[in-house]
Symmetry: C2
Subunit: 267 residues, 2 copies
């Protein structure tokens, strides 16, 4: 089983991704697809007059500040548009996909972080009314039911809080949680760069292999969202996933190429 | 089993609906919820600068003209927002709901009507690039899987074409198709009127009972969307559903009240 996460950034070629999923699934591979939707969310938020706001935590991770209005925009863009257009593409390629958020059947259960600490202009601040969370539990039963029925799950990064509220969760860490809970051999994190770069953004400085024991020492090289990918990779590897690959989703056959070694392989 | 369809019109009280679903489910009732989302779709379409267009067929039925841009707005408003906010409300009430469109797992398979005939200014016209369809098949296996797992399905009125394309389908007829395919005893169509009115919009003229054999003779009384509800009712009754109720979703306990006889009961 492979858990594939595809980011929501610029340059992602969903057609190529879906075609590759179809080829692999028709050859007998079991795949779970997790997606993002940052770019669609930003675009919709701008058009609806509620522009996105990104904040940085004291430990240096960047994330979307999700007030209730942003959560509803996120649901529309990610669960409504990105998820269903991927499912539609897969259905057109004869892959029987089903889209889910972590709210559906409580697939992903998370601890809400209603109050978050951020750093702005060098000062620590507190933000309230945040609708994000950290995943604590995966309801593998529902995913297994779908897989046994021959259905490919397409998962949007939304979780249920303990009280049943919808929460925006990080897609890479959602994919890592799913890979861990389902005992996947491989977690593939596809994005719009070729993998971890020694000198970002110079793509010729791609790091091809990282021994799992050394992942911490590579963290300082990670820029922006790549930090969360390495964090997700580290979590997944420490909990039994055999291999994490950071691959490029801007080209044909992105999954097959990543599996063949074009990307950063961590194991 | 009861299939409950709740319309997407003005005045619908989703809180009351979800609270009633929770009470009934916790008392052992099996429910499948189907929803609309016309009002959310109209509002989003206006805000995105692609206002809705409604057309009337030669036989007098009104429907949304769904070009590709409208389809994507429909996915955002209906599959993204309405569906997930209902699922969230149910999860908060300890009902393990899961939202689905008919595209997911090919739950609802439809024949696309890419070209539709309409009547405008008294003349027949042809419209192309329409992304609507008529449901032909329900994949009951997927719904049964969810029900057996204790999950309440919340279904958005979107179907898969034979080619796997996403299609906007009529919610009342989707509910009727689900009730028929699943052998439900009761199909409940909740809307923002008390039922079929002898003299619309005078709510004191509610028709409480319609013998199923006489449904055709009541069609001339139906205004606007009520025509499609009677059509859905007629289809469901002719295919084995025991009872169809047209009820009011603007009040507390809308399902319980409809089952208790407050509405138009057709059987």
């Amino acid at each position: 089983m492979i858990v594939v996460k595809v980011g929501g950034g610029a340059g992602i070629v969903y057609d190529a991704l879906c075609a590759d999923v179809a080829t692999l699934v028709h050859a007998g591979q079991q795949i779970i697809l997790v997606h993002g939707g940052s770019q669609e969310t930003n675009a919709l938020a701008e058009r609806l007059g509620h522009p996105p706001r990104f904040v940085t935590s004291p430990s240096g991770y960047t994330s979307r500040y999700t007030d209730r209005a942003t959560l509803e925009i996120f649901l529309m863009a990610v669960a409504g548009k990105v998820n269903k257009l991927i499912v539609e593409q897969l259905q057109r390629l004869k892959v029987n996909a089903a889209g889910l958020t972590g709210l559906d059947g409580r697939l992903l259960q998370a601890q809400r972080k209603a109050i978050i600490r951020i750093v702005e202009d060098g000062k620590q601040k507190v933000l309230r009314d945040d609708w994000t969370g950290v995943i604590e539990h995966v309801n593998t039963g529902l995913i297994q039911l779908l897989l046994h029925a021959g259905v490919l799950p397409v998962v949007a990064p939304i979780a249920a809080s303990h009280d049943g509220e919808a929460l925006n969760v990080d897609g890479d860490r959602a994919a890592a949680a799913l890979a861990t809970a389902l005992g996947a051999e491989t977690l593939l994190l596809l994005t719009n760069v070729p993998g971890l770069l020694r000198a970002f953004p110079d793509e010729s400085t791609l790091i091809r292999h990282i021994p799992r024991a050394d992942i911490e020492s590579f963290l300082p090289l990670a820029q922006g969202r790549m930090k969360k990918k390495l964090l997700g990779a580290s979590e997944a590897l420490s909990r039994g996933v055999g291999c994490v690959i950071l691959g490029d989703a801007r080209r044909a056959e992105p999954i097959s190429r990543a599996l063949a070694g074009e990307g950063t392989m961590i194991r």
